[in-house]
Every structure is written in C-alpha cells, then in structure tokens.
Symmetry: none
Subunit: 207 residues, 4 copies
C-alpha cells in the first residue's frame, strides 16, 4: 500500500498553507520593489503581480485592495524595525545607550530603507509613519531623559525635540539611501555621533 499524501492530513494541509504563504511573501517582496521604484500612487496592481510573476487575480486572494497591501507592508516593516532595534537597545543602560541606539537605528533603517521611502512618499497611512518616527524618537528620548535624571545632561535640552531632530536626521539619511549606496550605515552613525559629541567647535558659533 503506497503512502500517498492524502493519507496523512497534516503534511498535505501544511504544503497547501506553505504554498499560500510563499505566494503572499512573493507579492510583498515584489510590492516593496515596485513601490520603491514607482511610488504608491503610480504603481499598478499589474506592475506588482508581474514582478511577483503571479496572475492579477492572485493579488486579491491575499489583500483586499491596494491600500490593504500598503498597510500590511508598513505594519510588518514597522514590526521588524521594532524587533531589530529592541533586540540591540533593550539590554543597554538607558543613560549611556545613545551611541548604540543611533548605530542600531541606522543599521535597521538601512536594512529597511525601501520601506522608509515608501512610508514617507505614499502620502496615506500617516499614522503608521508617525508611529515609526515615534518609535525611533522614543529610544533617543528615553536615553536623553534618563541622562537628565542622572544629572549628566542639562535641562536646556528639549528632550522630545532633540530626539525628534536626531531621528529626523536618521530618517532623512534612510531616504537618501533609497537612492544612493553610500555612505554605509556604520559611517553614517559615526558621523552623527561625532556631530552630537560636539564635533562642530564653538569657533563656528561665534555670531
């Protein structure tokens, strides 16, 4: 008696589910490429399914519409960012983790520079974009606030705004990366840290 696939329910169902998952992942991957290149509004469903090498109808088996795709792409990207950064920053002492946080943010945003570009050029889904920026700023603000609580940083620093500025700088770098290969994230992080350490001497600021 031969062992056929329908004798054992599990594997058969698993294979089906795996195939489904793979198609969905193909679509997300293709969408990431296409949206990065063309922008959300200009990209068509046909562009995406062509890039994923599936039929147009297949798209709608996995996403309700174009908006749902973008939502999924951004939410999943945000979640990966959160995990990657969290894994690096969590074990560090808050008050002294700014360089590490900046390096982690740069590395993570470099890895997801496509998603960052899509988030900032799509126009819609501002809440997800905002949550992303808040995620980044959150790490920095925690570090600054903790340092202020320990008295090592003066109160003249507006912690939320400074955090926003630094994260803004990094995000802008990520958008730059979506067009240019250089500089690598480590170099970018070094320069940011160098700048924040007081790299620009007081001589430049005599007005």
């Amino acid at each position: 008696m031969s062992i056929t696939s329908d004798q054992v329910g599990g594997p058969a169902l698993d294979r089906q589910a795996r195939r489904r998952s793979r198609t969905r992942a193909c679509l997300l991957e293709a969408a990431r490429h296409v949206l990065t290149r063309l922008g959300y509004q200009a990209a068509t469903i046909a562009d995406i399914t062509r890039a994923a090498d599936v039929g147009v109808g297949t798209f709608y088996l996995h996403f309700r519409d174009k908006d749902a795709l973008l939502h999924t792409l951004l939410e999943e990207g945000l979640e990966e960012l959160r995990e990657e950064i969290g894994a690096v920053v969590a074990p560090l002492p808050l008050a002294h983790s700014i360089p590490a946080a900046i390096r982690a943010l740069c590395a993570a945003l470099y890895a997801h520079r496509d998603i960052v570009r899509i988030a900032y050029t799509s126009g819609s889904f501002i809440d997800i974009t905002r949550r992303g920026q808040e995620l980044l700023a959150g790490y920095l603000q925690q570090a600054i606030t903790a340092a202020q609580a320990q008295g090592v940083v003066g109160e003249t620093i507006d912690a939320p705004l400074a955090a926003g500025l630094i994260s803004g700088m990094i995000i802008q770098g990520a958008m730059w990366w979506s067009d240019h290969p250089a500089p690598p994230p480590a170099h970018m992080a070094d320069q940011i840290i160098h700048l924040l350490r007081g790299g620009l001497p007081p001589a430049l600021f005599t007005e």
Copy 2:
C-alpha cells in the same frame, strides 16, 4: 471701428496680461493647497481648477500638462528658497555663518513647507528635489569647509556628509511642519544649533 476698450492698445494689452498673470497665480496657489492636501497623483486637474475657480480648459492655457504644473511649482519654490536664503547668508563670513545659515534655512523652509512636502511626496522630479537638498547642504558645506581651511574644525568631520545630515534634519523638520504647527522655526533652529554646539555631553557617549 467700434468704440471699445481696445482702442488704446497699451493699457488694454496690459490689462489682458495682468488678468492672465492673475489667473496663472490663482492656479499655482490652488495647486499648492490641493497638492499639499491630496498629493500629486491623487489630485486631479478638476480639483485644482475648482479650487482656483476657473474652468478646466483654462488650466491648459497656462500649463502644458499636469507635469508642467508641478515642474513650475517646484522650480519657482526652489528659486524663492534660493533668494531668501542667499539674501541672509551671502553677506556673512563663510567660516562663521553656520548659525545664521541654519536659522535662514529653517525660516525659509518653514515658509515653504507646503512645497517641501509636495517635492518629497510626489515621487517624480527627483532632480529638482535633489537640487533643493544640494542648495541647503551647499551653504552648510561651504561654512564647514571654510572653517576646516582656517583650521578651526578638524578633518575628522566629513564635510559633505555632515552638511547632508544637518540639512536632512532640517528638511525632516519641514515635513513635520506640513502636519503640525509647532515648534516654530526659530525654536527649531535654536535646538539644532544647541545640539551641534556640543549640547549632548560626553557623559552620554561613554560606551
């Protein structure tokens, strides 16, 4: 010949030209509002002409097509930016103009925050956007390079990258402004200057 307003050529032609100019300005102003709200792709010609209170056909008397409108809007915005910033920065000694440049950049970008948002969310016309970013970075890079030439700034600073980072920080602020009223540009500039002066103490950077 009938007695009409075109008996006297000069004034009539002027009035004609003035009316034409006014219509064109209305369209550009309407486009700025509508594109800021909806984004380039989502905004329709009808949206723009409705906001400008003219007929759809009138649009095509002033702009070849939708792309030409965006091109004009961005080029004119870029030119205004260049003039406003240049007027402030030109008379200053390069090596010591960083705070003034930052304040001028913040003020000018705040005034044109709609255009900045349109430039960064339209997806097309990357060359104009790049030229805008280069305009900003140019002022900063000149100042840093001049300071390095005078020996007041060390060579460990990557002048183009630092300039890019600082301008990126400011641009990111401008995109934030397109959604939020605060903080005012002067406050934003102060914080940036404070940060760059070495506002974050070495204590935060002991790794």
Copy 3:
C-alpha cells in the same frame, strides 16, 4: 459689430444646456433598448454608450453609476405612466371607470412595455416596481371600492386582492408584449373586460 453668441448670455447657455439634455436623453433611450434586450446585469456600460454613440466617460457625466441609470429610467417611466393614466382616468366617475381604467392601463403599459420588462427582470429596485404595481392596482381598487360603497358590487369581492390580480394580469401582458407584437392593447383590454364581465359562464364552474 457682429452679433456673436457670447454677447447674449441666455441663448448660449441654453444651447449648452440643450446639448447636455439631448445627450442625457440619448443615453436613456439607448439604455432602454439595451436593457430590454440584454437585461440589467448582462448589459455593460459600453453596450449602452455604443448604442447612444457617445464615449464611455460621457455616461458618468450624466449618471453616477449603472444603478443610478436604472433608478432614473424606472422613476421617469413610472412618472410618465402616472401622468398618462391619470389624464384618462381622473375625469371619470370612479364607480363606473373600470373599463376605461383597464383600457388606459393597457395602453400606457403597452407604450412602456420595455420599462415594465426592465423593472420586472432587474431584480433590484423592488420598491419602484412595487410602487408601479400599486399605482395600477390603485386605480382599479378605487373603482371597485367606490362601486361597493354604492352597493352595486357585493362585499364578497376582496377589493385589494382583485385589484392586484387584474393589475397582475395586465402587467404579465406587458411582459408578453416585450417579446411579441400581438395582441394590440385594445384587443387585450377588450378580452380582460370581457372576462371580468362574466365572460366565462357558470357552466364551466360546476365542480
């Protein structure tokens, strides 16, 4: 000085409006033909605009969507029915107007047999269809009730149901007409009146 069309606002605007109206009427007329032949669901917008000899986009200048077209078609048809029948029946003494009412109903439904077919085969817009049936039944019921009030008709007749049955018979005839040319409405009305006068003798009803 020549008399050009834009010197006199009225006629120019009128011409514009007339042209618009004509296009709309073309579309409604084309829709009546196409929907009768293909049915509401099977008919495409392209079928209708092709029949009307206008571009597809023109359809959407006049109707929000396919549903709005059907709604308009049925409402306007219902209104014409109401006017045509009312004009005939209104001046008659209620209690003796049944033959006249039946002739008027037959004539009006014959004239609008396409609309009747569309209403009864479209599946949607049941409320308009119901209102149409109630319109027909209303005239008959008024006549029967008036006759009962004068004592010339016995109370064993269920006036609403009888009215519904007779109108149903006529409506079914109208649907028949949408496929066949004969019999003409006058003949149809004569037969109905003949039947209702007691054309089938008691001999047939000895059970």
Copy 4:
C-alpha cells in the same frame, strides 16, 4: 490487492453514487436559495458552493458551467410542475375542470415560487420560461376550447388569449409570493375563480 471498501463492488459503487447524488442535490438546493436571493447574474459560483458547503471545484464535477446549472434547475422545476398539475387535472372532464385547474396551478406555483422568480428574472433561457407559461396556459385553453366545443361558452372568447391572461395573472401572483407570504394559494385561487365567474357585476361596465 489491498483490503479496502472497494472489495465488494456493488455496495461501494452505490455508496459512491449516493454520495454523488447527495452532493448534486445540495448544490441544486443551495442554488435555488442563492439565485432567489441574488438573481442569476449577481450570484457567484462561490456563493452557491459556500451555501452548499462544498469546494468550488466540486461544482464543476456536477455541472459543465453556470448556465448548465440554471438549465438543470429550470428543467427539473418545470418537470415537477408538469407532474404535479397533470396528476390533479388529468382525471377531470376537460370542459369542467377550470376551477380545479386554477387551484392546481396556484398550488403548484406557490410550491415552486422560487423557481418561477428565477425563471422570470434570469433574462436567459427564455425558451424554458415560455414553455412553462405554455404549460399553464395549455391546461386552461384546453378547458375553454372543450367548453366552446360543447357550446357552453361563446365564441367571443379568444381562447388562447384568455388562457394567457389567466395564466399571466397566476404567474404574477407567484412572483408576488416570492416577496410576500400572503395570500395563501387557496385564497388566491378562490378570488380568481370568483372574478372569472362574473364577480364584477355589469353595473361596473356601463360606459
């Protein structure tokens, strides 16, 4: 040969055939419900298989395509109508079977009101619908013609048309039933018989 249920051919094949039959019946029953609710064009194969609780592919094991399903549904419905009505009317003397025929038609159409609605709102398969109407009219026409042959009904009655009118009245009632519960078929039949017996007195017809 492995020990499985197909060792004994007969019962196994029977069980197979029974299961097949049951699935087919499920699909037809589900189709009847779904098509009644949504109409033929609007109903999807997925709607039907979901209602039947089978996979979409299963549908095509039992019907060549969507049209074949409708064809089967209508043909089987028509056959049942024919059998039910025939069983009642066949043993009666033609010339005196009009009340019985009307009662049988009302009862049968009430039982199959879903099918009637589907037939009249599907747009396609007009030949089956026509054959259905001819089935009904046939019984009535035979009765009227037989009565005319016996001299108990005058020749002023156009037998085919009168038969068509009466069947049309009943069919219209059946479509009404697909939306409303009342009146019951017996009541409907009584009123029709009452009307045809001369229920509307001559007083109403003095023009």
